[in-house]
Symmetry: C2
Subunit: 635 residues, 2 copies
């Protein structure tokens, strides 16, 4: 959003960084776009990659050397990052594209004997640092893990946030923090761990039934949690600490967030029972280089593990599921009311009138949707920045309009709206692609394929043990058959009054590491969001959230089934029914019938009811002649 005015700043900042690197003897500097907690969304304090590059993508790695500046990001951001990097002199590295080396390989090939790689070990995952160290040992170069690139250069750096935390009562959490701690300590015993360091903010919030607001859209507080067999230490910002008594009742002592790194080389690992090879458990995916090194320096035994908290958190309990179902229903009602209003506005547009409120833009559409959500009593705020993307902006997977780049919408083509709310009863996420007016045959064909893909997964039935790599095929197969693919996952887990993206499960055919081969279990919820993106033309995505429930148990084993949580019509005006199988039409009709049954009781307005009726009207099935006719008709 700051593109036009800031371009010159970024070049200057890179120059300052290079001077600092030279002074400190650093040949290459590595900066990922994360915080001390391996968070996906981060507080402004941590936006160092954006400070140096201007790139606002979530998943960035920046590598700076005397002669080169490179920025890696993933397929969701190829289009937006390319725009943001224009004129900065920074080269875009498209992760996963043919011929593009990964960061590790790039470093391996470019650092020479005697070179020094510098980074801030607090924001580099140990997982990656270990690879760099191996490459350094082979290549004869060195690593300095205490190099903070922004220090001194980023003079106006925002402060670390420190907002008050609040307790999510057991009536809403469905399980007390005591009970959760008991389960977690059992996992510690199973893994022979005396100490368990939790750094992921949503895992700490879930464990302690706390919520905060230190990161936009994510109701989390900056924190660290260190658990012992008895008791433990919570690190929180001073201003956030009213919950001291609640926490001490849990046997936990509260410390200042900013003293965590100091305590790492002291108090945290000092205990009567601790000796050589004391087991320290942590999530092998999240732990930072800095923390692992502290464990190793102490000669304690690192116990890397797939986070037991992430797994517990992913399986929602009955209270959570009850709240989530109701929350999604209210959220769906808001969406439907918004879609009805939008359609009326576009009809006025098409008839030549701008309507009483003037022309609409991507932002005003997002605001209209916000106003419907804001009417819901327990609404807290959005769960992520609304993607309201008109026409070719829809092809930018994580596009968000800005004041400088807002765009008027017209009664033709598609508007892609991906949005979600944080409520005291859940976290939502939903995408619909809306027909604003005439669409081409190509657009109809792609829209139909996306609907087919979405519907095939929406109520899929499968045996216990299936992972996201299996389930993704429901969605990909119909697209692949036409030579089409989309470069993002099909689905992600969703928190409960927590982050809109959470693991450990992941619906993706090419899961990158074994950790993600997580069987889908009853109580898990995740998104079903296929898309087709035509750069420079349009983007389509249909996203509903599903829950996993048990189905029949028979001679072949225990089956599970998916059931939608989202009840919002798929825009039939862009569906080409003749390209759908009978089964696809049946799935569409069944979903729309359920949408009508669930949503209509909550609509008071006659216009909205009529809209819903039309938007969910069943499609007629063609009659299939009986088998005998089929075989003999040509005789």
């Amino acid at each position: 959003m700051k593109k036009m005015t800031m371009m010159k700043f970024e070049k200057q900042r890179l120059n300052e960084l290079r001077m600092k690197m030279k002074k400190e003897g650093i040949s290459f500097c590595l900066i990922p776009s994360t915080d001390y907690h391996a968070s996906e969304y981060i507080a402004d304090y941590f936006k160092v990659t954006e400070f140096f590059s201007g790139c606002t993508s979530d998943n960035v790695t920046l590598v700076i050397s005397e002669n080169e500046a490179l920025l890696w990001t993933d397929g969701r951001y190829f289009i937006s990052a390319a725009k943001e990097l224009e004129g900065t002199g920074i080269k875009l590295m498209k992760t996963g594209e043919p011929g593009v080396p990964c960061v590790k390989d790039y470093l391996k090939n470019h650092l020479k004997e005697g070179d020094v790689l510098g980074y801030d070990g607090r924001i580099i995952k140990a997982l990656h640092a270990n690879e760099f160290r191996m490459a350094a040992a082979e290549g004869g170069w060195k690593i300095r893990s205490d190099f903070d690139p922004a220090a001194e250069i980023w003079t106006g750096r925002p402060a670390l946030p420190g907002n008050p935390v609040w307790v999510l009562g057991e009536d809403m959490a469905g399980e007390s923090a005591e009970s959760k701690l008991e389960r977690i300590r059992k996992a510690m015993v199973e893994r022979h761990a005396e100490i368990y360091i939790i750094t992921a903010l949503d895992e700490i919030m879930w464990t302690l039934n706390l919520r905060g607001r230190d990161i936009d859209y994510n109701p989390v507080a900056l924190s660290f949690l260190v658990l012992y067999k008895n008791g433990g230490r919570v690190y929180l910002q001073k201003a956030a600490m009213p919950e001291k008594e609640y926490l001490s009742a849990l046997g936990l002592t509260v410390f200042d967030y900013e003293s965590f790194y100091e305590d790492l080389s002291g108090e945290i690992f000092t205990g009567e029972d601790f000796g050589d090879r004391t087991g320290v458990m942590f999530s092998h995916q999240d732990i930072s280089d800095c923390i692992l090194n502290a464990v190793l320096r102490k000669n304690f035994k690192p116990i890397p593990a797939a986070s037991p908290v992430a797994m517990m958190k992913a399986v929602k309990n009955e209270i959570e599921m009850r709240n989530i179902r109701e929350c999604y229903l209210r959220d769906s009602v808001a969406l439907c009311r918004f879609l009805c209003r939008l359609q009326k506005r576009m009809e006025e547009y098409a008839e030549g009138g701008d309507g009483p409120d003037g022309k609409m833009t991507e932002i005003s559409v997002a605001e209209l949707l916000y106003s419907f959500r804001a009417e819901i009593p327990d609404f807290i705020g959005l769960s992520f920045e609304t993607i309201s993307a008109y026409a070719d902006n829809g092809a930018i997977v994580h596009y968000a309009p800005s004041k400088e780049h807002d765009r008027e919408i017209a009664p033709e083509g598609f508007l892609l709206i991906d949005s979600g709310g944080q409520y005291k009863s859940g976290t939502t996420d939903v995408t619909r692609t809306v027909v604003l007016g005439p669409v081409t045959e190509e657009m109809r064909r792609d829209f139909t394929l996306v609907a087919i893909a979405n519907l095939r997964l929406l109520t899929a039935k499968f045996p216990e043990g299936c992972t996201g790599a299996n389930l993704d095929m429901y969605v990909r197969a119909p697209l692949w058959e036409k030579g089409i693919d989309f470069k993002h996952g099909t689905g992600h887990g969703i928190g409960y009054v927590l982050n809109v993206h959470e693991g450990p499960h992941n619906i993706s055919w090419n899961l990158r590491n074994k950790r993600e081969y997580i069987p889908i279990k009853p109580g898990m919820i995740f998104s079903d969001e296929p898309g087709i993106y035509r750069e420079g033309k349009y983007g389509i995505r249909t996203e509903s959230i599903v829950e996993c429930i048990p189905d029949e148990c028979n001679e072949f084993g225990q089956f599970l089934r998916l059931r939608p949580l989202t009840y919002v019509p798929i825009d039939m005006r862009a569906l080409n029914f003749s390209e759908m199988e009978e089964g696809d039409i049946k799935r569409l009709n069944a979903y729309h019938e359920e949408v009508y049954q669930k949503i209509s009781p909550h609509l008071k307005d006659a216009e909205e009811l009529a809209w819903l009726k039309e938007a969910t009207k069943p499609v007629k099935l063609s009659k299939i002649p009986d088998d005998k006719n089929r075989r003999d008709a040509d005789d």
Copy 2:
């Protein structure tokens, strides 16, 4: 087949084994059903589990203690193994079933401090032995890896086979052994290995362009191959050695097969360049406990690797593919001629006459099929024991009829025939389920589902990078939707004039270990063989072999496609077209049209041609009304 007469022997043999164990201080004895090469099919010499248990399954682990005898096998054999174990006192452990511990967990829970586990380290994989050693260290029990359970007890033990080997000329292999050795040595260099020990028989045969006949159905010779940076050692049976000159021209020295284990503690690891930590590469899946221990004793560095030879072998070259396509066509012609003849015979049956050749049985059907294959000029023999399974025998996944248990077939229900040939131009595998007469609605429903599943994978299109876990979903999804599953993989790789089962790729949704997440590549061939098995009623399987070929490369990446190698009609008399989607009918028609085009030129007989015409006749598609009608018809 020896069931009725041998039952008493097995009990006696177990008693003898228990006495021997007691004498040698062994508390538990572990015997897997494999040989020194981790082979799936084994020479009679190695059939120790069958000797002690009477169970003829391929994939067995036997555990004997003073009080218990247990036999683990997988889902393919649950029904047959249960029958074979009746009255032996051996308990069947169904691998993977709920509540059934794996062998390791069983040992962990049952061996107590001071106990001794005994096994023959030459036939135990190091992979498993390492787990046992860890469990032993934890549990305070011991392992003896030089305990040969059959020695002394198995007095009439067959000799090790030692049949002559032959060279598959470069004109048929498509690549010289020199070229293969060069590629393999490159893989050794990449992995910093000075020595590479290959024990898998088909890998040795492929590498050296040799073939043998030491194992039924598998054209392999008992052998070991040790490669150095220059030269190497081939271990072969004395009688098999006429190829000494061919092998010495490859820089390889030939030694006696039976001296391999002796040389392991001597000559094999003695070389000028070898010192401490010399790198020794081997397949981490195949290597035996005995070999790994020899490497460790020498203080050499073990380099476990996914076998580079297995990967090279899996991607067929152009000459191999050309031969395979032609070979499969000839094999399909034989199948079609057989199916025509079988149908005529069954029609005679139904009309009351037994025909001139008397009543047919499972074995006589298999012999009839054999006779058609035997007419093909380069036919060598079968690629596995023909499964000719009538009625409920079809539910026994790896059923094979025996003289004692042969069964008459009647003009009703299904006959499942799974068979394949070894030819000098390829190795085939194909299953069809044939309608012999009236079938029930349930049988039709299941048969239709299996056909739908088979056809969905048969010509699937997908991007580069897809693994068997993704592709399996084409097959499973339609079955799962109806709450049905089958307990075997959907597909396996197939050798070229080699083993009918080969890896490393594997079409299975629940791949057991990471090694099997192998992307499917052009040049790979594998089976597409869904089934439905109703114990005590019937079994259905439809198996065609497919090859992977490149498809379009577009903005979304490089796509690949599958194409059938097998061209044999699917029996439409049991298809319920009204349960098939239009797409399924189109796939059926397209396949049958291709079958007719490919096979009809090779049929000389008018009756056979007429049969093929009828068996591949297109099914009429129902007309789908246009979109407008679909939406408005109910107005």
